[in-house]
Symmetry: C2
Subunit: 116 residues, 2 copies
DNA sequence: CCAATAGTCAACCATTTGGATGAATATAAT
DNA sequence: ATTATATTCATCCAAATGGTTGACTATTGG
């Protein structure tokens, strides 16, 4: 609750999710559950290594968790971190609405002046 | 309503907002309302030109609108586009929950089998 | 034991990005 | 008319990004 939104974390998350391939990976993970690196890579027209790097970026952003069983790495989505971005968006919107409300009050008091 | 989420748009928006300076610009705009380029730039320890470029990126992502009055450009936040990202996050979460529900059903029917 | 499989790491490359600076353009002020 | 202000455009640069390939490590199966 009330988690502190670190700016660097936020940047890392948004950058991670700003790439099509990585969003696609996340989508696959939420619909299929945990997947191995090779299984994920099979969905993309690029090398295994490239996909592996994308996974690393997602992992560093905390959007994905890795469980290693023998030689196999199981990757699972961690949607929790997305709430950080949502809370930032929410903050923006609330500031926005606060300002609009303040403007409204200003207009109302002008009206009252005029009504005298 | 039900706006079609274009993948490239989404990438552009998320990349735009993945930069600290640009997030800061958006924050300033929502709290102050429309601002001139120079006024925005005054808040940052970088050249006017750099800020101008950041504004351009935000503009191309549709997160900001520009109204030109004479030589002055007034920049205003356009929070509407942020809903695109929210709807993507929402989609992810709903897929996620669908899958969990499906797993649940699976377990329940196994239970029923065992109960025979 | 040996070969195959699952992954990462390292080096390399082209492109993009975030910044700087200098010039150009358009408007406003004197 | 000239100068000052507001802003973008163009060029340049270093660093980051997204991709490739080749080598390396670790685990598993025959």
């Amino acid at each position: 609750m009330g988690e502190y939104v670190n700016d660097d974390d936020l940047s890392r998350i948004l950058k991670a999710v700003g790439d099509t391939t990585r969003r696609h990976i996340l989508t696959l993970l939420v619909q299929e559950g945990a997947m191995r690196v090779t299984a994920l890579a099979a969905h993309f027209d690029m090398s295994l290594n490239a996909v592996s790097k994308h996974i690393k970026v997602l992992e560093e952003a905390g959007l994905v968790a890795r469980k290693t069983l023998g030689r196999e790495h199981f990757i699972a989505a961690e949607l929790g971190r997305l709430s950080l971005t949502e809370s930032w968006f929410g903050k923006l919107k609330s500031i926005w609405e606060l300002r609009l409300a303040a403007l409204d009050n200003l207009l109302v008091s002008k009206d009252e002046q005029n009504a005298e």
